[in-house]
């Protein structure tokens, strides 16, 4: 059970948050112009790596804000949290 440092609220228990999967997957601006394969890449393909991963999290039982997190899935160490729209930090 992590302690997550919400960029808007500060440190809170993990039970207040929900994870939204891989971060920095941008919804294509012109979906109709994509091939099936290109659309499928956006729609279905997600990494689930052992190691440093960029993830979306939502403070669902708090401020309800979405934000990004850099987490090492092998030891659950959280390297950084940052707001949506901000550049990902270099880890």
């Amino acid at each position: 059970m992590f302690v997550i440092n919400c960029p808007y609220c500060g440190e809170r228990d993990q039970s207040e948050f929900s994870c939204g999967g891989e971060a920095h997957i941008v919804r294509p601006k012109q979906p109709t112009e994509l091939s099936d394969d290109e659309w499928a890449e956006y729609l279905f393909m997600r990494k689930n790596i052992k190691g440093v991963q960029f993830e979306r999290w939502n403070h669902a039982h708090g401020c309800r804000k979405w934000f990004n997190m850099v987490r090492d899935t092998s030891n659950d160490k959280i390297h950084a949290v940052y707001k949506m729209g901000e550049e990902p930090p270099v880890i």
């Binding site: 059970m1 979906p31 659309w39 729609l43 979405w66 659950d76």
Partner: protein, 1000 residues
């Protein structure tokens, strides 16, 4: 005093007698005893039978590692508790315990025959044998296994006890109240850190508290006396919380720990009832100091499982702590010095003792102490066999060969009534590894010790691999100071004298003269796996420790292999000829000791299991005999039976009334989201499949929402309240998820949109009135309002006042009837409802529930998301092409509607089904086939909704069928258990296809 209670100690109050029963017979112990020490004081060793071979087994240890002495507590079958370790349960007046896994009785056990046929039940026996013939499994093998297997009986009634959860935060959590835990807690608390010390026993002190040997001296006092002074000083510290009877269950990441406190388990029966039984502490600690101690290892030799074979340090604890002798003629069998402390203690109490040591010599102080006392020591020797069925009677020993791989010379038989064994010590690294810590293998004494690379916890004392008193005290002081960044710990000038071990030797599987196949050298006592099982697994090709563990079931019993895992690893390493450190260990998973389900769920039982949401009209429904249905967390009226009506009868009546005159439904539970902002219209355009820009103010529109994969996600009517203001409704169950999804898109994909979302589901109550007389009822309720089709057309909304209360009226319909939904602030919901009922009385307005609502909309072919859809249906599959905008450039899920898979023509599509026999009602979920004779039977779809329609006087059903769009009129079959039902595919709008009634 009984024959075996030979010593008076400060830990057991021999003036306070406690009576208890074991297997129906009454015994006495004293306050301070455990069930195990009380049984031993009565000379009882035989406690149970082993799992597979049903061999007699006795008490083997004094703690949570106990594999054998597991009991059933309480003889009341309603409330009985199985698998309780006799070594852990504190004796209380009225305790009733019995042995498990023996039938018909402990002393005569039929399963014991397994012991004699055991050459035929090796590892993997069940996997191999019971596979064939297949039909034998269900009828013969499984019932037989179930009869003879099992560990105790489950209670038959709900648990009457109260369990509690509590959150706690602290600067420092110390796990374990032995000497290193006490030193750690004192350093932390004295330096103004909020500290919690937890200890699973009822008193602090660990094994040092009964260490009265003169070779162990701290500051010129015997170590036990020094520690007692420390404990009394500790209890005076303000910012230290000491929790005894509290065991750590789990050590999760970020120093989040679960600990279980026993609050009333030790109390006499008459005092238990009023109290909470157990409390689960959820602790978030800034720093954690693990001082969990070590567990003594057994030795692995032939017939090492007889009652009376006990771990050496446990023998010492029974003697010096409980005052109980485990035997009067004791033999110690050891590979290390620590067992000599037991020998000296026994000798000093006048008990006959001899020592068998696999080492050639040892020159430490404690060994010299034993030699000086004249205790006979057999060096370089090993036990090769033991005798005595229900209690050990004698042993045979032999000399070891030069390299220890074999035995030489003659067998020598020695009589005894207790064999104390010690194979060294295993640090309790469970906590460390649970939290993500790694381990190193230490060759010299063959132990896994924690690596130092942890930020927020440390391990001190014997769980860190420090076994000698001096290094325990000094290293703990040093490590804790460094960890907490403290200069002065208060233990810097301490002087410690202790015996130091210099000769070490370990043999995982001791050699024997007889062939391995004829020996029983137990590794996992509870699961009856032996050294030969492990070797068999290796011969059969299992290499990974995790596979060997599962194949042989070693380490998989309720004791989680606390005694067995290291030996299993050692034997695998020896047999495979690899270094033990390279094998790794099995994973140590929480809980460290079994947790009761009660402790896990705490107070979340019965009505506290989940939140119950009720509408403001709920009380009226109850008074009017409604039966309720759970929809998400909501209680919704399901139907309102009159007199003795059943569901079917009530629904037929309600459905007819709604179409013939007027019906009223509590629609308050529908999800409601208030949407405001200058981009609200654009936002709706992007989340719904249809167009929203041109919806006039005061108008309503039905919308369908997809997931990005093109599948229908939710639906509902949205009303434009103002230029930049909408009220969206969602399905009852989908409200929270829809809000989350909309927020997600707004925050992450379209942050440029000026839109604000507010959940207002609970803010409004809704009475929905439908039927040909609904307009007349509305006229009575709102006499000043014009309800003509021109002034108030279908799919529009108006504000109104009723009883000085503002309300919104939406003219929308989910039944196909002329229909109005009146919304008021929730607190006025019941009064609105009662007004509606009163106004409708002359039209026999009939309250109806969800079942009738479902029937009415099915007659009209309106889908229910989640019933007629299941996350694999596109709007095209639902034949709802009309709602998918061709003009809009994009909306959520649009692109997916043009994927090759979603455009397949043989996808399951929504159709109507009519049974050839109009009185036959299909079962929802029933499967549909087109050819009855085809093998294997091909399922081409299933029934999603099915009712008997009183308005059509025939049964109707909605279904999804592969390629169903083009199958109108085709005959299909619904095979049921006893018959095949003939059905015909039809249009799914069964009633009022022309939509005349909406404006009737």
């Amino acid at each position: 005093m009984t024959k075996y209670r030979i010593n008076k100690t400060r830990f057991v109050d021999q003036t306070k007698t406690v009576s208890f029963t074991f297997d129906g017979k009454k015994y006495h112990g004293f306050e301070g005893d455990t069930l195990a020490s009380a049984l031993l004081s009565n000379g009882i060793h035989l406690i149970g039978r082993s799992f597979k071979y049903h061999r007699p087994r006795g008490i083997m240890s004094c703690g949570s590692e106990e594999p054998n002495a597991i009991c059933q507590i309480n003889d009341n079958t309603d409330l009985t508790e199985p698998n309780v370790r006799a070594t852990e349960i504190e004796l209380y007046e009225g305790l009733k315990a019995s042995s498990q896994n023996c039938w018909p009785s402990l002393n005569f056990d039929i399963g014991g025959i397994n012991n004699f046929i055991s050459p035929f039940i090796p590892a993997g026996f069940y996997y191999k044998t019971f596979m064939w013939p297949k039909s034998f499994w269900k009828k013969i093998y499984e019932p037989l296994i179930r009869l003879s297997a099992g560990l105790g009986k489950s209670p038959t009634q709900p648990d009457p006890d109260i369990y509690d959860h509590k959150h706690e935060h602290c600067d420092v959590l110390v796990i374990g109240g032995g000497i290193s835990g006490i030193i750690s807690a004192k350093i932390a608390a004295k330096n103004n850190l909020k500290t919690i010390l937890i200890e699973d026993k009822n008193i602090l002190g660990g094994s040092t508290i009964y260490q009265n040997n003169k070779n162990f001296i701290i500051d010129n006092q015997k170590s036990n006396e020094w520690l007692m002074n420390e404990i009394s000083e500790l209890e005076k510290l303000d910012n230290l919380i000491i929790k005894t009877r509290t065991s750590l269950a789990a050590f999760h990441s970020y120093n989040y720990l679960l600990a279980k406190e026993n609050i009333s388990d030790h109390l006499p029966l008459d005092k238990k009832n009023s109290s909470i039984r157990q409390r689960l502490w959820k602790i978030r600690a800034d720093k954690v100091i693990v001082a969990a101690g070590a567990i003594e290892r057994p030795l692995i030799f032939n017939n090492n499982d007889r009652p009376g074979i006990i771990l050496a340090n446990s023998v010492k604890k029974y003697l010096d702590f409980y005052g109980v002798s485990t035997g009067l003629n004791n033999i110690i069998f050891t590979n290390n010095d620590s067992a000599y402390e037991t020998a000296v203690s026994l000798f000093e109490k006048g008990i006959s003792v001899k020592i068998v040591d696999i080492r050639k010599k040892s020159s430490s102080n404690i060994v010299k102490n034993a030699e000086d006392l004249g205790i006979k020591i057999y060096w370089n020797s090993t036990v090769v066999n033991t005798f005595g069925y229900k209690k050990i009677k004698s042993i045979e020993i032999m000399n070891l060969s030069e390299d220890g791989s074999n035995v030489t010379g003659n067998k020598h038989k020695i009589q005894c009534d207790c064999l104390s064994i010690s194979g060294g010590w295993t640090p309790m690294v469970h906590m460390h590894t649970q939290s993500g810590g790694k381990l190193d293998f230490r060759e010299i004494d063959q132990v896994f010790v924690p690596t130092e690379k942890c930020e927020n916890h440390i391990n001190v004392g014997s769980c860190n691999g420090d076994f000698e008193l001096e290094e325990i005290v000094k290293n703990t002081n040093y490590k804790v100071k460094k960890f907490l960044n403290i200069n002065e710990g208060g233990f810097d000038k301490i002087s410690v004298l202790c015996s130091k071990e210099s000769e070490k030797k370990n043999i995982w599987l001791l050699p024997n003269t007889i062939s391995e196949s004829k020996t029983k050298s137990f590794i996992d006592f509870q699961n009856d796996s032996t050294a030969k099982d492990i070797k068999l697994a290796l011969r059969e090709g299992f290499k990974s420790i995790e596979h060997v563990k599962r194949y042989t079931t070693t380490g998989m019993a309720t004791d989680q292999g606390k005694l067995s895992n290291m030996h299993a690893l050692g034997i695998i390493a020896d047999t495979a000829g690899v270094k033990m450190g390279t094998l790794g260990t099995t994973t140590f998973r929480p809980p460290f000791t079994p947790l009761t389900f009660g402790a896990i769920v705490g107070r979340s039982v019965g009505k506290f299991f989940d939140i119950v949401r009720k509408t403001s009209i709920h009380e009226w429904h109850v008074q009017n005999n409604a039966k309720f249905e759970n929809v998400g967390q909501w209680k919704r009226p399901w139907y309102y039976p009159i007199n003795n009506e059943n569901l079917h009868e009530a629904v037929q009546r309600e459905s007819k009334a709604a179409r013939d005159s007027a019906g009223i439904l509590d629609a308050s539970t529908l999800g409601k989201i208030d949407i405001q902002g200058s981009d609200a219209s654009e936002f709706l355009n992007r989340v719904y499949t249809n167009a929203w820009s041109k919806l006039g103010i005061g108008k309503c529109r039905y919308g369908l929402m997809l997931n990005e994969d093109g599948m229908v996600y939710d639906d509902g009517v949205t009303t434009r309240l103002g230029e930049n203001h909408y009220l969206m409704t969602t399905t009852t169950g989908g409200a929270a998820n829809v809000l989350s999804k909309l927020e997600d898109y707004l925050q992450t994909e379209w942050p440029e949109l000026d839109v604000y979302l507010t959940s207002v589901t609970d803010h409004y109550s809704t009475a929905s009135i439908c039927g040909p007389n609904s307009k007349k009822i509305l006229n009575k309720l709102f006499p000043n309002k014009d309800f003509s089709d021109e002034a108030f057309p279908h799919m529009s909304y108006q504000d109104a006042i009723i009883d000085k209360i503002e309300c919104r009226i939406m003219r929308i319909s989910f039944t196909g009837e002329l229909s109005y939904e009146i919304n008021v602030e929730s607190k006025y919901g019941k009064s609105l409802w009662e007004n509606c009922i009163a106004a409708g009385e002359e039209y026999k307005i009939t309250p109806y529930g969800t079942e009738t609502m479902h029937l009415l909309r099915a007659e009209k072919g309106f889908i229910i998301v989640g019933q007629d859809t299941d996350g694999t249906m596109t709007p095209i599959d639902l034949q709802m092409d009309w709602i998918v905008s061709k003009k809009k450039y994009d909306f959520i899920g649009k692109r997916s509607l043009y994927r090759s898979d979603t455009m397949r023509e043989d996808r399951k599509q929504l159709v109507g089904l009519l049974t050839d026999d109009p009185n036959e009602i299909l079962e929802e979920g029933a499967q549909i086939v087109s050819e009855l004779d085809k093998k294997p039977v091909e399922m081409i779809g299933h029934v999603t909704s099915s009712y008997f329609s009183p308005n059509l006087n025939k049964s109707i059903a909605l279904a999804v069928v592969k390629g169903g769009k083009k199958m109108n009129g085709q005959k299909l079959f619904v095979p049921m258990e006893n018959k095949n039902i003939n059905v015909t595919v039809s249009d799914f709008i069964f009633f009022d296809k022309e939509n005349k009634r909406i404006n009737a």
